[in-house]
Amino acid sequence: MEYLPNVIFAIVLLASIGFFTKNVGQIIRNINLGKQIDVSDQKSTRWKNMARIAMGQTKMVVRPIPGLLHIIVYLGFIIINIEVLEIIIDGLFGTHRIFAPLGALYSFLIATFEILALLVIVAVILFWLRRNILRLKRFIKPEMKGWPKMDANLILYIELALMIFFLTMNAADFQLQQLGAEHYTKAGVFPVSGLIASLFSDMSIPDLILLERTAWWLHILGILMFLNYLYYSKHLHILLAFPNTYYAKLGPKGQFKNLDSVTREVRLMMDPSADPYAVPAESTDTPDKFGASDVQDLSWVQLLNAYTCTECGRCTSECPANQTGKKLSPRKIMMDTRDRLEEVGKNIKANNGVFLDDGKQLLDTYISREELWACTSCNACVEACPVSIDPLSIIMDMRQFLVMEQSAAPSDLNNMMGNIENNGAPWPFNQMDRLNWSKEN
């Protein structure tokens, strides 16, 4: 009986790690549904970008208020993990405050955790107010109705609860230490919970122990639950922001990739002497489809982008089309891609590894043509994204599908392209008149 709590703890810990691993596997499988692309170049630049943007949060502070609040929560998350390590060891071995022998360092750590916990509470409350009372525009766009809104608030509630459990646990512990209760060695400095502890001054030792244990268990169970909540939430970014910033596009934002299969074809057309049979070995990798109409046509990095999206809406709030009331929202492009990817992933799982046509696709079922054609390719969304997501690349791939596979461009654009084809300019002017300006005054 004595070891019962330790056994329960071990089971719960293993179960949540197991469940989490399973979900991670599912994410990796889904991301791998995307096309393979080579991103093995420029490793040092990639590491630097990750260090700067994900670890250093450089893009977050472009907007100073949420940036600063986010840094608090981010630091809180990273640093309090040291505490979680102690809790896990204590939980498994029935020890109490196993790191206490660190002495002064331990006191320093506990004090830091406590101050951070308090700051996190403040930040979370401010975040909640921004979303629900101030109702900042970017949080109440149409794509934020329903689950995304609830998800955002749930995360805040969970974080708030975790911090309250943590401080309650410390306060009860501190009180027990004062009373000299057995097992509760004097350790740590409690700048925040020391203040709450006075609330518990009338409580007996057994009651305090009950309170301390309850808070301890709720805190760690909450953390393990939160870990498994990630897969269903925009909160996944706390893990994926790192690979995502690593694999993000390098080089000028204005550079769009050239399709190699088209290059081969155009070379053949332009060089009549080229032997069409000289390239057959390569022509096998000619894609049978140009552009993207569904998630499998996107690259795996674009799919990773979709899972990483924090739904913060910085992209949408900078988007000129969205600002002027068009339907396009780059955030929605990313959310749609993730939702569709999940759907395809489930479909494949349910059908033993093969995708059964479900009559849906990313184009039209999720993302309308009206949205795609409203984009000015201005890169504001790419610049604004704090985790280096590129919504524009998905829009462009889908336009490519519409034009190259379906000839479904708006008629004005068809005219423009017809002009380029016939007279080398987007307008119906004769190429022979190109130099006329030099003869005018």
């Binding site: 204005g254 339907k327 000015t376 461009a409 423009m416 300006w437």
Partner: protein, 254 residues
């Protein structure tokens, strides 16, 4: 280009005029202003003239990769046959495509935007900028997406404005957070989607807020969009849209 090559001259730079610069009435003025400065600075330059063809940018951004590459390879063939090494253009869309998307198709050139080129000429002492005309005038600068965010060129045009001794005032959104004029991504050639407002009006309003006398542009398409915006707001009498090349040429009374 054909003529100078026939005469055995290898010009210092090829001026890529672009479709707007060749055909659009407003943009032709920019072309002419830039040419005047080039002549004033004794730059030996050439144009492709009737051998130039659309870079393919609007086709690519509309999704037609095939048409884009056809255009690109045709242009590359022409330029490579003349041994072109350096290109200058007053259009950020041409600039971006020539600089970033042509190399992968066999077109390796040094490509500069005209605002960068003008700065080079200044630094080399080949032109000077007289401040008189624009001294103290409030000028706001609109960052073209394909020059700014797309290629990180924010300072070259601003330096030129400062050289005019003008008072450079920034709009609410500028540099990395500059707001698009609404023309990019082939939008120039189609009607906008349904919404509450046109993008160029939004941007023009930001420019008007600065109380500037001149909106400096560095792209023929932005120029058109903002000129239309100013007209739409009936502010033609109080604010003018001018390309940086026009500002410099006008300051020099060219």
């Amino acid at each position: 280009m054909a003529e100078v090559t026939a005469a055995g001259i290898q010009p210092e730079v090829l001026f890529w005029v672009g479709c707007a610069g060749s055909f659009d009435d407003r943009a032709k003025k920019i072309t002419k202003a830039f040419v005047k400065i080039l002549n004033e600075a004794n730059v030996s330059f050439a144009v492709l003239g009737t051998e130039e063809s659309c870079t393919g940018d609007p086709a690519k951004r509309a999704g037609n990769e095939f048409l884009f590459q056809m255009q690109a390879m045709t242009n590359i063939e022409v330029m490579n046959s003349y041994g072109v090494k350096k290109l200058v253009t007053a259009c950020p869309h041409c600039f971006n495509t020539l600089k970033n998307e042509y190399p992968g198709l066999g077109g390796q050139y040094e490509v500069v935007h005209h605002t960068q080129f003008l700065n080079e000429l200044l630094a080399e002492g080949r032109i000077s900028v007289e401040s008189g005309k624009f001294k103290g005038k409030r000028i706001t600068y609109h960052d073209p997406c394909y020059l700014g965010r797309a290629n990180g060129v924010y300072e070259a045009p601003r330096e030129l404005i400062k050289k005019l001794d003008a008072e450079l005032v920034e709009m609410k959104n500028s540099k990395k957070r500059g707001l698009c004029c609404g023309a990019g991504g082939a939008q120039m050639f189609k009607e906008p989607e349904k919404g509450d407002k046109d993008i160029n009006i939004e941007r023009t309003e930001q420019a008007l807020e600065t109380q500037a006398e001149i909106i400096a542009a560095a792209c023929p398409f932005c120029n058109t969009m903002l000129t239309d915006g100013v007209k739409g707001k009936e502010k033609e009498s109080s604010i003018q849209v001018m390309d940086i090349a026009e500002l410099i040429a006008s300051a020099k009374d060219l």
